[in-house]
């Protein structure tokens, strides 16, 4: 386990009394996975991240981070983790290479070794073109890459990325995904928060959704979506052939069936394998197919099913 928390809590004193930001979070993040942390704004994502990264002390609960007890030895946790804040952390008047050297030295590395590591990071994150210019001249995507390079300059086993792709153009975002996958390939565990459901779906091995300071659900994106309702296949038939529902109801992969005005709607576990079988069955009985469509539930449907609200509205 890279991270295991039990009942992690944090409240803040606000103008109208205490506000609970994190209300008992239980999480497990496994070694070497990309873990996505989702939730609407103000759900407790960033607070949880800051608790786990030792930037805040929890009010209650326990957590083990990178093999160390968070409350007993926050200093040791700091040595083992990297943290990249949402808004970045470069200073405009210095160059990326200078920042990288200084950051390495903050981890107790000597000057020569720090230079070597900075050069390696410049190569690994492809910063060559601008690493010796001052940070204030960088584009958003360039700055974000420097931020990540700074966060992992000490080769931590675990890195926290707070919304690493927010505000990036599609190309920079694709680049960032590649970097995150590369870090996993190098053996790092990546814990990231994101607003983008497609991103969590495509990039993360497992995700957890937080709402009102509590974990609503945790699992692989595929499992979570399947758990909802399976997938939906909409079949369009010329004239709504009445034999079709009876014929398909007997098929083993069909979990539910609903006649519609111009065809049927089928609930199945796995649409990708069900579609050819549906087509074969109907074809074999001489029923003419006009159209076939697959609807996959999204992580938003998962959130909707659990909370009755849409994640997308707040995101």
């Amino acid at each position: 386990m890279m991270i295991a928390t039990r009942g992690l809590r944090k409240s803040f004193r606000g103008r109208k009394g205490a506000v609970t930001a994190v209300a008992g979070v239980d999480l497990v993040v496994r070694d070497g996975e990309i873990f996505g942390f989702l939730g609407p704004n103000g759900a407790g994502k960033t607070t949880t991240l800051r608790l786990l990264a030792t930037l805040m002390t929890p009010d209650g609960g326990d957590a083990t981070v990178a093999g160390v007890d968070l409350r007993q030895a926050p200093g040791e946790v700091r040595r083992r983790i990297g943290y990249v804040a949402q808004d970045g952390a470069t200073w405009g008047e210095v160059t990326a290479r200078e920042e990288l050297v200084h950051q390495a030295r903050l981890y107790g590395v000597g000057r020569a070794e720090a230079r070597r590591r900075a050069d390696a990071a410049v190569r690994a994150f492809q910063l060559d073109a601008f690493a010796d210019r001052r940070c204030k001249t960088y584009s958003g995507g360039q700055r974000r890459r420097v931020d990540i390079a700074l966060g992992v300059i000490h080769q931590p086993r675990l890195v926290f990325l707070d919304e690493p792709t927010t505000g990036l153009d599609p190309q920079s975002r694709a680049h960032m995904w590649a970097e995150v996958r590369r870090m996993r390939a190098e053996g790092m565990t990546v814990f990231l928060t994101t607003h983008y459901l497609e991103e969590a779906d495509a990039l993360c091995d497992r995700v957890a959704i937080i709402d009102n300071g509590e974990i609503v659900v945790e699992g692989t994106p595929t499992d979570l979506k399947r758990e909802i309702s399976g997938e939906v296949v909409k079949v369009g038939l010329d004239g709504g052939d009445p034999r079709a529902p009876a014929l398909l109801r007997g098929e083993p992969y069909v979990r539910g069936i609903e006649p519609t005005a111009d065809g049927v709607r089928l609930y199945v576990d796995d649409g990708a394998t069900a579609m050819p079988r549906i087509m074969r069955t109907l074809d074999g009985s001489g029923i003419a197919l006009r159209s076939i469509e697959l609807h996959r539930p999204s992580l938003d449907d998962v959130f909707l099913a659990r909370t009755g609200r849409s994640l997308r509205d707040d995101a």
């Binding site: 930037l55 700091r78 983790i81 990297g82 200073w91 405009g92 030295r105 903050l106 107790g108 000490h154």
Partner: protein
């Protein structure tokens, strides 16, 4: 030792940044220079001829130490907004070093400015022994350490320029006036003198004047060193705790 190494690391970065934009060093010394050149001559008839500068320059040096450092929190607010402080707080770097590296930069800057001021004052007839000047610089360093730590601690507490600026203005004017910088507090009525006795910077000014007058044995000197030394340590502890806030 980790604290010394970490402090050096933070200090050198801050000094490099300062040297990249050295114009502020000179801008900072302009205000006391104006006072020296445009106001000092006015004091001669009041304070008794050639000795006027022996009284006036130590006051200006303490003023420089106060105003050069009280506002350093603004720089920290910019660093906070850029995420620099948070990035450093997730590293194992010593929290005290995050403070001492910055106050160290402020002291270096102040001593450079103070040297300029003294160098300019010498042609006006100022004379002071090297050892006494050195002791004065120690005193100024303590004032700078105290006030820049306070400035950083308040900046970390308020986290907003909008609140920071008016607070500093409200606090700095009485501190300045009660230090007896322009005229010795011996000229003040009794009630004002009693209040100023509670102002540690008034002690700094009197000690600096004693040193410039060539009396390092004056009790004001050791008392000021003890008072400001104690306050500097207390403020460093407070500010370092603010840097570690929420983190142990």
């Amino acid at each position: 030792m980790k604290l010394v190494r970490d402090t050096w690391l933070v200090l050198t970065r801050q000094l490099v940044l300062m040297l990249r934009n050295p114009v502020w060093l000179f801008v900072g010394v302009l205000q006391p220079l104006y006072f020296l050149v445009l106001f000092g001559p006015l004091l001669r008839p009041v304070l008794g001829g050639a000795d006027a500068f022996t009284t006036f320059v130590p006051g200006l040096l303490v003023m420089l130490a106060q105003f050069g450092t009280l506002f350093v929190g603004f720089g920290l607010l910019a660093e906070l907004r850029a995420g620099i402080i948070e990035r450093m707080r997730v590293t194992p770097v010593s929290r005290l070093a995050l403070l001492l590296g910055r106050t160290g930069r402020d002291i270096v800057m102040l001593l450079a400015q103070a040297s300029i001021l003294v160098a300019v004052a010498i042609p006006f007839g100022l004379s002071v022994k090297a050892v006494n000047l050195l002791l004065t610089f120690v005193l100024l360093s303590l004032v700078a350490q105290l006030l820049s730590a306070v400035s950083y601690a308040i900046a970390l507490k308020l986290r907003s320029e909008d609140a920071f600026a008016p607070l500093l203005n409200a606090a700095s004017t009485p501190i300045l006036l009660l230090s007896g910088i322009f005229l010795p507090m011996t000229l003040a009525p009794a009630w004002l003198r009693h209040i100023s006795e509670w102002n540690p910077f008034s002690w700094a000014v009197q000690a600096a004047r004693a040193l410039f007058a060539g009396h390092p044995g004056d009790p004001h000197v050791w008392k000021a060193l003890v008072i400001l030394g104690g306050l500097a340590i207390a403020s460093a502890a407070w500010a370092a705790r603010s840097f570690a806030r929420g983190v142990r």
